[in-house]
Symmetry: C2
Subunit: 280 residues, 2 copies
């Protein structure tokens, strides 16, 4: 199976133009064999944090993006994961969804709001859901969520073999923006967390510059051993990465030998991670 | 304040010879200004997994290593963290301790036994303790423990500003032993976890080859932003890294701005990590 990570620079507050351009990228990814296409954070609205303008382009879950992606998913027989600006009961959410030929599969609202996002969005209230798909169990999280080790851990322990990460990586948070191999700190975080949780991680980032916002790109796909299969892309590229993934590889990474099993070697008699009232 | 990570190749089953050589290295680290000296996993016994021979050189907690390190700590006014082969009630443990001028500060038994270690050692039964020292609160874990994200998370959430990691990194677990910048996968794991948990991590590894065992070295010191302060050392070096550390830097990394606080931004209403019956 193949996953595509679409690095894309969304025009701020131009959802229809962005949808049109994203459709082209999704079709191109389908042409390259992708069965799962990951799009960036706020790919439809653009990532510029102006509340009044986001209010204008926000949509309800059952809005034009879900319609558009369902139609594309059906035509191309792909799954699509991406970020959009959601309005619900008067509140904005930095949301993502996974959509298939029959419509919505997974709905997620970003749990960890970064910096000025706190002044605009309500914090996510849908937990950390995973969904079974024909490609295997898949989880979603968004950008700053990746910095909280509980997130990928909980998705992986719920059985996700791939975590799709719509993101819009920006600088200023860590001290070194890019290392000698071209990785930003956030992308290294994805690599190591794929390794430590034995799960694929596919990050699709915004790139380039819009308004007062500069993105770092660095989209990449990592396997459950922490091997980088594709990327990281540079900060300005608008390109699509395509990489193979296979649930059996994730299972093999969890059970490496008779005596080395990173999942069952966990000391659940000593510690655990809980999600609401489930302990994992 | 300064921390030293001593990369060292211990002679298998020669505890007195190893103690003598370690004493020289501890004194040298003290001469270079170190107030905390981290030594490798099983630094005293050597890391070769032969049960009968380890039985012969294992010692009780209150044994010659604690005596030796207490004397050195007192003479040099340093703290010493390192690994030793412990026997208690007929069972062997892959243990580590933190020792100061007044004696034992922290006693830890490796929670996650790697591969053949399972056939030799009993699993750790002392949880994940941290201790307050004049240098700040310090935690300990050993080698394979680092692959379980709960470990550093729990030490950091208990307030450790530095995690000392006696280790004996070996190959065969992950696919790529060393990347273009000289890091093995395990060392990248330490770098990223320092960043994600806003804690210093100081890893002191065995190096070189003994009997049928080849070590990967890669000792390093990372700051709470994920910046590598020293190392990684190559696979065969026997050298000591010295780096600055400061509890205030760890606190600053946790609270970066009014709106970005990697600790308080955790969604403890949604998830948590528990250690026995404490939830963090």
């Amino acid at each position: 199976m193949k996953v595509a990570a679409v690095q894309f620079c969304a025009e701020p507050f131009r959802p229809f133009e962005n949808q049109r351009r994203l459709s082209v990228r999704i079709e191109e990814a389908g042409d390259r064999g992708a069965e799962l296409v990951v799009l960036p954070e706020l790919a439809v609205s653009g990532y510029v944090l102006e509340k009044a303008k986001l209010d204008e382009v926000a949509e309800e879950l059952n809005g034009p993006t879900l319609q558009s992606w369902t139609a594309l998913a059906s035509q191309r027989n792909v799954l699509i994961a991406g970020g959009f600006c959601e309005v619900s009961e008067g509140k904005l959410f930095n949301s993502a969804m996974l959509v298939g030929p029959q419509g919505l599969i997974l709905h997620y609202r970003k749990l960890h709001l970064f910096d000025q996002e706190r002044n605009i969005f309500a914090p996510g209230d849908l937990g950390l859901p995973v969904a079974d798909t024909p490609l295997g169990r898949i989880g979603l999280c968004v950008c700053y969520d990746l910095r909280f080790v509980e997130v990928v851990r909980l998705l992986a322990l719920q059985g996700a073999i791939l975590t799709a990460v719509p993101t819009a990586w920006v600088g200023g948070f860590d001290q070194t923006p890019c290392d000698a191999e071209g990785f930003i700190t956030q992308a290294r975080g994805a690599v190591v967390q794929a390794n430590l949780n034995q799960t694929y991680i596919a990050c699709a980032s915004q790139s380039g510059s819009v308004a007062n916002q500069t993105f770092l790109g660095n989209s990449l796909v990592v396997d459950p051993y922490g091997k980088v299969l594709a990327g990281p892309l540079n900060a300005v590229a608008e390109r699509t990465l395509v990489a193979d993934f296979d649930a059996r590889v994730a299972l093999a990474a969890q059970h490496r030998s008779e005596l080395v099993n990173p999942r069952t070697d966990r000391r659940t008699d000593v510690y655990g991670v809980h999600l609401h009232d489930r302990v994992l």
